[in-house]
Symmetry: C2
Subunit: 456 residues, 2 copies
Amino acid sequence: MIVVSHRGPISFREQADGSFEQRRGSGGVVSALAPLLARREDAHWIAAAISEDDRTAVAAGESHADEFNLRLLSLDPDAHRAHYDTISNSTFWFLFHGLFDLSRFPRFDRHWRDAWQSYVEVNKAFADAVAETAAGGDVVLIQDLHLMLVAGMLKKARPDLHVSHFTHTPFCGPNSIRVLPDYAAHAVCSSLATCPSGFHAQRWADAFRASSQTVLGAHAAVGNNYAASFGPDPKMLESELAMPEVQAAIHSLEERVGDRALVVRSDRVEPSKNIVRGFYAYDLLLEEHPELRERVVFAALLNPSRDSIPAYQAYRDEVEQAAARVNDRWARDDWQPVLLDTRDDYARSIAGLARSDVLLVNPVRDGLNLVAMEGPLVNDRDGVVCLSRDAGAFDILEQGCLAVNPYDIVQTAAVLHEALEMEPAERASRAAILRDRAASSPPSLWLETQIRHARN
Amino acid sequence: MIVVSHRGPISFREQADGSFEQRRGSGGVVSALAPLLARREDAHWIAAAISEDDRTAVAAGESHADEFNLRLLSLDPDAHRAHYDTISNSTFWFLFHGLFDLSRFPRFDRHWRDAWQSYVEVNKAFADAVAETAAGGDVVLIQDLHLMLVAGMLKKARPDLHVSHFTHTPFCGPNSIRVLPDYAAHAVCSSLATCPSGFHAQRWADAFRASSQTVLGAHAAVGNNYAASFGPDPKMLESELAMPEVQAAIHSLEERVGDRALVVRSDRVEPSKNIVRGFYAYDLLLEEHPELRERVVFAALLNPSRDSIPAYQAYRDEVEQAAARVNDRWARDDWQPVLLDTRDDYARSIAGLARSDVLLVNPVRDGLNLVAMEGPLVNDRDGVVCLSRDAGAFDILEQGCLAVNPYDIVQTAAVLHEALEMEPAERASRAAILRDRAASSPPSLWLETQIRHARN
């Protein structure tokens, strides 16, 4: 078995003595797969050298990983940057999440066309590495939007392999896929159509099918696409919750919040996460329900993200202004209605989920959303989950959560109010459903599903 | 027969002596319908009093129209403003054209919810007026996005009537209709589903069907929706072309352009029209083809539009900056590459279409686009039409035009180059197709189609 992903399970850090320290990488895909592939002789992992130190380690022949059969690809830095920033993050991420302000962006100019060539080159480097590494008939599991052309390239170079591709974001519908230049839309759809193509939710699989039929023709074979997902590993979450730094963060949060009700959100600072509208809804809640003033705190636990992209910097500014607006309007001497924390601090985020009475997860669109599933598993207060119906995780948690229309401030405020006022018995029964559903799809099952589809 | 539209065929202007002058209104819907309904005893027209003078004429009992059985409804000014600005123009127009920058807008706050009540009220006023006016079994033809709830209201109040609704914009797909608050999405879809619902292109009819099934349920009856369209009236265009002010404008344009090739666009300053990307494409054309410099002029003939909406002001600024950027970069003493004309001047627009060698019509989305059909009918130079594939008119003109991907600057520049370099024989054969197709659907046929569907 070969797993192929842009980011690998290990990053390297050069030490003063010239040796390289190995660190476990982060991110949803790596966190799910790394524990399953560690110390498995039959599993290979191919990924990109991300940092300068990764590249140095590869050049020095020191990129051997203790726990993985890992091959890091050292890519041309300019091509890699174009592949990552311009195509993966600024085009496909925006397109699949519906984030483009279409009267202005995208603009497929010559710069973009050149970046597309880099995307093709980087995908080719991955496909070549797989073709070299794979034994006859191997299973190859390609991950995410950085590598959408690899399946098609392998179909030509190594038709003996059992290939599957899994997309971790949403996929867009026919009106949106047509936004791309024809050659790019065709390349993506025709590559993913050569293999079983997996998505976190049925609606993304359906969107891929509809888009492919628009791009490739109504009668084109568009692969045996499927929905399969993974939740958190409950055991791993349990051990994280027990860590001293998490317990300390819970203690610190409790000191700040006291006996007030706590609404929490935990997100990257990312336009798809809909953080600004969350503050507007909370503001409306305080306006409409004076009895809640001083009785509730909204902790927004936000990790920095993609600070090098101007659209992300602009969004971070809007988030900070919206939070400040609520505090300016409602704060009293002994009460700050919004706690905005933008440090990159995982322990604090887990602590927030553990202590929350209400968890707000209101993305405009999300492939899955792991936070919505982690919350119920670390929370022992029967916390209520208010979840956007446009997140893939909604399909899993629907019976236990309260549904949010992410664009509707009035409705979101009403849902927050319903959550804060919910009777203990209903909280308990919903929390039991949420825990059950969130624990029902550990990463091991998801990995098996990919393998089964690849082999079919 | 009763035609129901927001804007009527006549507006009133109070004179110094207290009498009211009647003026023919403008706009695509009115221009198509007014000649067909003038002096028809059997046709009634119900519309809103738009201007202060209209309202005064209604109050004075002086809103009788010489040529029409016209009833103008004098609406509460605040409710009318909310109906028109907040719901019709800032919500439905943006939603159906895919113009929302979804990580920021829309925000359905209390202001919006109140405006929605006004939209319902205004629609109710129209439905009441129809119910009062209509004889048993009358045909009622409701027009456009301002009045999407009227059909459903009439279904209850006057089930004897034969009602049809026609939407002149695009319609959005299932992912987009879900953006609305549930009550609004449900109100729109369930109203339009009570009657035959017409659109300019099959794809908008399909989008309505898919959206309605998402909102109302997969097995809901969603009406006998249909595609039917109208082009310009060739005779009317011919007489307009012969008017002295149009001939003068042609002469004036010829003096400025000389023997250079002329690219023309003629649009309202409207984010859906994609004017900025058009300038970027022209800029790239001049960059890649030095031989075209000084040999081509791009006349952008732009009518002001909805200046009171901030998003439109911002877009106008971007348009002006993009035009200035091209001129700053390429202009020489005796050559200005872009002529930007933002006066509200119909004669100038017709003159531009008549004199153009290439017509660029590249909207990001458009229900139909009449300019693309008017061009071939007033142009005697075998002008090439470069048309966005995302305009409804593309389905009509596909065999004769060159297809533009509105987001792809590189492709748009290549299409402009192909158009400018096209051999005379191909220009002639394409122009013949364009003229034939553009003249094939006069408004009279479209009106008959609506009546036929209403009666079925």
